[in-house]
């Protein structure tokens, strides 16, 4: 129920520990057994500017943050100015008492009290937890415990500071909100963490990446837990090194993955085609942010859909799929890694900053994942590109007494370069047949999610699915939400049934790339396309209004 949603928004400068504050609040709600959705909004800088986090929580499922805050904590004047209009009807604003704010808001000595500590900026983030604790009726000792558990260092300062702010907040805030406990505690995971874990579940042996927001946290997560997970994470000189090393690793028998955002992925195009020609299994994660070029590095977008579908030069099969939830990110990454290996061709997991970096309470069914066994080579003379009817040749890796030649040039079945005309046709046909085998195989998989079966049809994909589902919950709207998980090959066999329906498309692209794809590949002509392309995810309040207006 939407009215049971509680939203905390906290804002301040970069360097105030806002992101951490959001994480602490999310962990607190999760420990209460509630569902949580945490979204961080931060610009591309390290100090100054304006950051905010939005943490929404409900006793039941919740798939988006809300933009109307029940508790709004503003650590500086800019946050007050930016968010004063984002207060819900029952909401309360807490702010640094040096900032000017409307009457009815609660001024606290956030910056004044921080002055006595070693890092008077970073510590102010702790005030968020203190204000939250006061507002939801936690005791001072419970707050101290929360701080001790949540911050790994500086607690000799964090705890007394939190106690001071808590005491100052208590008279005004005590008992303002009452949050019921949920039925059970769930782990908090970001989309990128789920992607990393899904890859490991699907067989990942080695991961290569060069840092680029919003994909970087896959690298950070796998590097930090490489030993725990039994995998290797490597950070080479650039994205070109990344993908070529991954291809080298795959040709030596290791299941490899790379990750980047649009710009880094553009650098990988040459090698993406190499993987297509040489038939190298490779999983690429493309986490989008608004472009073109540097664009808005820390925000979200679905403007790379066409880029992902058309990655690389030349003709070769590929798989592109996009998860609509953190749970699906886990499952799908494992599945795509398996498909890349089964069909020896590159696969792209397309996602966005909104899924990559948002943190949610997720219940991963860790054991329910695909595990592909690639076609092994029979004993006897080996031919890397054996012209099998399915287009899929058996795999063998060095060290071997057989010669295993992978080739970027057009090649014969043995992997030897040849420019012979007849052979070129045969090999192009082999790769095309492999694409057809792949498409046939997709028909046996779950490729499209449908939520609900009444009301108008809404089509969306990727992280926008999260926004749509929450908008429906918030607005009490009945609809059938159709989300193709696979985008290439697009499962037209599942989607064509919606061709005659009154379809609304929701996507985060200015040109409506997803709507164009549906039209081109599934014959679906949407009645309307609801778009947002300012780098910010849809807010459920706003999207619910737009969907109602469309009915």
């Amino acid at each position: 129920m939407a009215d049971e949603v509680f939203t905390l928004i906290a804002g301040g400068k970069a360097g105030y520990g806002i992101r951490k504050a959001g994480t602490v609040a999310a962990a607190l709600f999760a420990r209460m057994g509630r569902h949580v959705f945490q979204m961080d909004d931060y610009p591309s800088l390290i100090r100054g500017g304006h950051n905010f986090c939005a943490v929404s929580t409900a006793p039941g499922p919740i798939t988006s943050h809300y933009t109307k805050a029940d508790l709004l904590v503003c650590l500086d004047q800019r946050s007050v100015d930016a968010h004063a209009s984002h207060l819900s009807e029952r909401g309360v604003m807490v702010h640094d008492d040096k900032a000017k704010a409307d009457e009815g808001s609660v001024g606290l000595p956030i910056s004044a009290e921080a002055k006595q500590y070693a890092d008077p900026e970073l510590i102010t983030g702790v005030a968020v937890a203190a204000a939250l604790a006061a507002a939801i009726g936690m005791s001072e000792s419970e707050l101290a415990g929360l701080i001790e558990q949540s911050y790994s260092r500086g607690n000799e300062e964090n705890v007394p500071y939190a106690r001071t702010i808590y005491k100052a907040a208590l008279p005004a805030l005590k008992g303002w909100f009452r949050l019921n406990r949920g039925e059970k505690e769930r782990p908090l995971l970001s989309g990128n963490e789920a992607i990393a874990l899904g890859a490991v579940a699907g067989g990942l042996d080695i991961f290569f990446a060069y840092p680029m927001t919003p994909a970087s946290s896959i690298l950070h997560f796998l590097a930090a837990r490489a030993e725990d997970l039994g995998v290797v994470a490597v950070h080479p000189e650039n994205e070109i090194g990344v993908i070529n090393m991954a291809i080298g690793a795959a040709t030596a028998g290791a299941r490899a993955m790379v990750a980047s955002s649009g710009g880094g992925f553009a650098l990988m195009q040459e090698a993406f085609s190499l993987a297509g020609m040489a038939e190298v299994p490779l999983l690429c994660v493309l986490s989008s942010r608004p472009g073109p070029s540097t664009g808005l590095p820390t925000y979200t977008s679905q403007g790379d859909l066409s880029f992902a579908l058309n990655q690389g030069h030349g003709e070769f099969p590929r798989v592109v799929a996009s998860p609509g939830s953190v749970e699906e990110a886990y499952r799908l990454t494992a599945e795509l890694l398996g498909l890349a290996w089964e069909f020896q061709t590159p696969a792209i997991l397309l996602t966005e900053k909104h899924l990559s970096e948002s943190r949610v309470t997720a219940e991963l069914e860790t054991g329910k994942v695909a595990w592909a066994e690639p076609v092994p080579a029979a004993p006897g003379p080996y031919r890397r590109y054996l012209d099998a009817p399915t287009g899929v040749s058996p795999l063998l890796f060095p060290p071997s007494s057989e010669i295993v030649k992978w080739n970027s040039y057009e090649h014969d079945e043995n992997g030897t370069t040849t420019e012979d005309a007849g052979n070129s046709t045969r090999m192009a046909d082999k790769r095309r047949r492999k694409g057809e085998s792949l498409a046939d195989h997709l028909r046996t998989l779950h490729t499209v999610n449908a939520f609900g079966d009444k009301g108008p049809v809404i089509m969306t994909y990727g992280s926008t699915t999260l926004s749509v589902l929450e908008a429906l919950r918030h607005g009490g709207i009945e609809a059938t939400v159709v989300q193709p998980v696979f985008l290439e090959p697009l499962p037209w066999w599942e989607l064509s049934r919606y061709a005659g329906r009154n379809v609304t498309v929701v996507e985060q692209s200015s040109t409506g790339m997803f709507a164009s794809l549906l039209k081109e590949k599934a014959g679906i002509v949407p009645a309307r396309v609801i778009k947002r392309y300012d780098g910010r995810p849809f807010a459920p309040e706003e999207l619910a209004a737009a969907l109602k207006a469309a009915e």
């Binding site: 490991v200 042996d205 490597v234 000189e237 070109i240 690793a249 060290p399």
Partner: protein, 280 residues
Amino acid sequence: MSELSTKAENTWCPGCGNFGILNAFKRAVAGLESEGVDRGRLYISAGIGCHAKIFDYLALSGLYSIHGREIATVQGAKLANPNLYVVAFGGDGDVFGEGVSHLLFAAKRNADMTMIVHDNGVYGLTTGQYTPTSRRGFKGPSTPAGSVEDPLDPLTLMLVAGATFVARGYSGKVEQLADLMAKAIKHRGFAFIDVLQPCVTFNDTYKKYNAGTEPAAHDPADFAAAMAAAARRDRLPLGVVYETDKTAFDRELLGEHNPVRDSLPQAGRLERIARVISRS
């Protein structure tokens, strides 16, 4: 040794320096085999250009890569399975142009690989343009009035970047070159051989190198002496220019772990995943 050959049609120009490199490499492999190295553990890669055809002419496993990227390709293969001996063949345009970032970092991180540069100072396959190692004044279709750039010095570049084995060979001295290649492959770290290679069609340097080279006579363990040898322009020293011991990148990164050999079955993975999730 003959079974190291393949049935692929050889399309190098008669007299091409690449023949010397091919023959030297076959001898090097034969020599390694006589020392007990299984040729099945060799993984080769090549870039794009005349040099790269060597991939088709050797009965060895690997990936015929793309321009300049063979350097990254073999590093990936090595990290996947550190039991492999990985060798990258590259041209001078390939290695010092398109792939120079990979080259510098391979040396910097002491990746355990052998880099064999077919350095002929010209783009042969694209019909004679100047390359990063062409002399100033080199006339080709892209520099009809002569190149206005000074050439890179491969040996100095590699010494400064941190290569732990740096050598210069000459395709006209096959026996010495084979010996350098075998040493480079056995070297546990980044081994670089700049092979002087005449291109009979676009840059015939046989006379120049026959007369202008001599065996290196300094102590290859002495870095300053190596730098001085690399800087020589009067006569070009041939042989091992520098050699030192340093832990290789794969060992630093992986320790005893071998990603292919130690790849976990699904059940082991799921257990580990559950443990990591329980802590988040």
